[in-house]
Amino acid sequence: MLKDENPRPLLDVRGLTKRFGAVQALKGVDLSVLPGEVHCVMGQNGAGKSTLIKTLSGVHQPDSGEIFWDGEKVDLSTPTAALSLGIATMYQELDVVDGLSITENIFLGHERATGGVLHVKKANAIARTLLKRLGHGSLSPSREVGTLSAANKQIVSMARALSRDTKLIIMDEPSAILDAGEVQNLFRVVRELTAQGIAVVYISHRLEEIREIGDRISVIKDGQSTANNMDVADTPKAELIRRMTGRDVSNVFPERTPISVTAPVVLEVTDLELAGHFDKLSFSVRAGEILGFAGLVGSQRSEIIETIYGARKASAGQVTVNGKRLTAGSVTSAVTAGIGLSPEERKSQGLILDEPIYKNVTLSTFERFSRTGLLDEAAERRAASEQIEALELRPADPQRPARTLSGGNQQKILLARWLVHGTKVLLLDEPTRGVDVGARAEIYTLIRRLADAGTAIIIISSEIEEVLGLSDNVLVIDNGQVLAQKTATEIDEHGVLDLVMKGSAA
């Protein structure tokens, strides 16, 4: 996509620093963005990406360093200053107003009006053109934004950026709220934007995405640039991880331990059916085995484990743990039998965010620590502290509210919960969603350690590579059906996708 040998950068940032009180958020960041390119910025949580974005959008002022726009030194003293130069920012949490129409959202803050009277028709016409430019001409400009999907809200947000004659759009983890199909659509839009000469700064955790959409990559670690303008195509993944984490992650996935032939079957699922979702589903997991569910969003994989867990009531079939049959539709029965679930939506389904770590860790076991209904919080704290130590959960303070922890550490709370409980079967739905690359490797190791200790584990992930890398055996699932059962080493990502495509064609 880069035609000129030495084109002049549209945005050139040199030696940016920013301190907040005692925290040096940026210690020297360089960034050089060319017109019409997709420039990816990577870094772990807390690396300084957000501060960088906010500095570029005029929200924060740098302590030192220079910003050049189209060759000229500029001062982005307010968000308006950045906008008028042509820098628009799409924040992760979409800032659209649900109750307003698409047009009203697009022109929010710069309404088309004379003397306070809105030019509704004109604004609608412009909105229509903008939507068309983004490949979404079918959306009606008068539609209320609250009725749109997250993906389409993103389009509205982009249209708003374009309505201001934007030359650079900063996208902060735009794919975080999208499923696989929507991400592809987002990429199409991004390509259309760059074809029109607009530059995109694309922030993401997901290495695979960056490989697909990015032209060049810059990496920040601890507020400092550790790599600049690396070519996406030429940079190996291991190199990126090393730059981000500062250590060699020679092998992201822990080594597999062969499962003993005598290992007993712990979880047995027989002819399980959830009306309208899947039927006649049978498989088993042995002690120490990690079984992966590979499949796309909408393959019903979450529904399957939620049914095993009793969070949904099976319409037929049975689940047994160590030979003991569970009551369909009873989470308590599953938990008592020794099944634990780490749900897909960690924050809304897993944690009580305002409660301290230890109460979250003992949410399934506080009854056990109690005597005749009286809580023993000291014992709970001790148990939580042991897990905090074992899992290297940070900050290591059992009193800290769960809300204040990073995604990786919140995930560790859930693992700790089931470790305290002593589960025999652990169901992990997207255990690394929202977890940065460095912390992921840690989570993988923990999961493997749990399996080595004899836990039977089922893991679901949108990232097929993760499922294949972590599991011993894999079920390829599509539309609630098992297309294939393989050992994880027998199949690769393409193999899975081939099966899924064939499955849906049939």
Binding site: V59, Y91, V331, A334, E355, F366, L375, Q399, R403, T404
Partner: protein, 362 residues
């Protein structure tokens, strides 16, 4: 000054478990504990203490000795006791993310049924006991109905208990034929109107219910489940807590509280009528909210509720002492509620801002 007061007030929390003392060997942990308390109920009680002190000062200035006399203090407490018992019950359902609008009506129904029992069983020596048991049972059944409709019928608590509010009042009218029934058992009324150690029995009941409520909410698995469900119902369910069953037991609990309040009302007025407890649900909810229990659930404070109740009854007393209009009093009550909720919101939004880093508008 008010700060000191709080630490004194909250001391029982810190001292009550020996285990905790064993465990808090490190200065870090005890520091965390103090910090936790300040961010916890005590920290939020600060404003309540200030409000109460201000009200007392106003009372002192406007009415002097008449206000501070021990008789008047007991008047305030006695006035607080019935709403107080209701409010303790309501604190539990609100902490769990629910609401109960029916407590006032259930109080009325209890008083009618209870008084009727007294008449029916007048000949027997155990009238007393029968009356108490029947009244508590009426409250429990009303709560059970609320709970089942909410938990198993998946009806929003607001609507379910609104229906009970209307229905219970109607039932009380039918049973009493809209007459005021006299409580004929003098043993009972004498007891309820008596003093014990110089303090009215009604106030003792409130104190006991408050203490039991505090213990139940803060020290038992029942309380933990209540807070957990209010904090995140889905996470609690997926952690294996029997959420529906617990919700039912919560409404039974608040129903029993209404039953106790009904008995207290029968004792105080020596009568049972369908109009007893009219609009009490609003006073109870106001006291709970002013006390700092979050309406969205997940955080509840019995101590705060007690303060809330005392603030309102002191306010009433100050107005009565000065022979001021009850309409002005209502106005002041309204202002206090709004002020308290504004403070709560500030607390809540501060929490969100810290955690979520809200995106700034472009």
């Amino acid at each position: 000054m008010s700060k000191q007061k709080i630490e004194v007030a909250e001391q029982p929390i810190a001292a009550s478990t020996q285990k905790q003392a064993e465990n808090s060997g490190t200065s870090h942990r005890s520091g965390g504990l103090v910090q936790n308390l300040m961010h916890g109920p005590a920290g939020r009680s600060l404003g309540l203490v200030v409000a109460l002190v201000v009200l007392v000062l106003i009372g002192l200035i406007t009415s002097g000795d008449r206000f501070t006399s021990s008789e008047n203090m007991l008047v305030i407490l006695r006035h607080a006791s019935i709403i107080g018992v209701l409010s303790i019950g309501v604190t539990f359902v609100i902490t769990a993310g629910g609401i109960d609008l029916s407590v006032g009506s259930v109080l009325g129904l209890t008083s009618v049924v209870g008084s009727l029992t007294a008449v029916q069983a007048a000949a027997s020596d155990s009238t007393w006991l029968i009356m108490v048991v029947v009244s508590l049972l009426v409250g429990a059944i009303a709560g059970l109905i609320n709970g089942v409709i909410i938990a198993y019928g998946n009806v929003v608590a607001f609507i379910a208990t609104l229906a009970t509010l209307v229905a219970a009042r109607g039932l009380a009218e039918i049973i009493s034929e809209r007459r005021t029934l006299l409580v004929t058992n003098t043993d009972f009324t004498k007891f309820m109107r008596a003093d014990f150690l110089g303090v009215p029995v009604l106030v003792w009941i409130f104190a006991l219910v408050a203490a039991a409520g505090w213990f139940l909410l803060n020290r038992t698995t029942f309380g933990r489940r209540t807070v957990a469900i209010g904090g995140n119902l889905e996470a609690s369910r997926l952690a294996g807590i029997k959420v529906k069953r617990h919700i039912v037991s919560l409404y039974v609990l608040v129903g029993v509280a209404a039953g106790i309040a009904g008995l207290m009302m029968m004792g105080r007025t020596t009568s049972g009528t369908s109009t007893h407890g009219y609009l009490y649900e609003l006073d109870a909810i106001a006291a709970v909210v002013v006390g700092g229990t979050l309406l969205v659930g997940g955080r509840g404070t019995i101590m705060g509720t007690v303060f809330g109740v005392l603030i309102f009854s002191t306010l009433t007393n100050v107005f009565t002492q000065n022979n001021m209009d009850t309409s002005v009093q209502a106005l002041a009550k309204g202002a206090i509620i709004v002020l308290a909720v504004l403070l709560q919101q500030r607390f809540a939004s501060g929490k969100v801002r810290k955690a979520k880093k809200l995106p700034l508008k472009v």
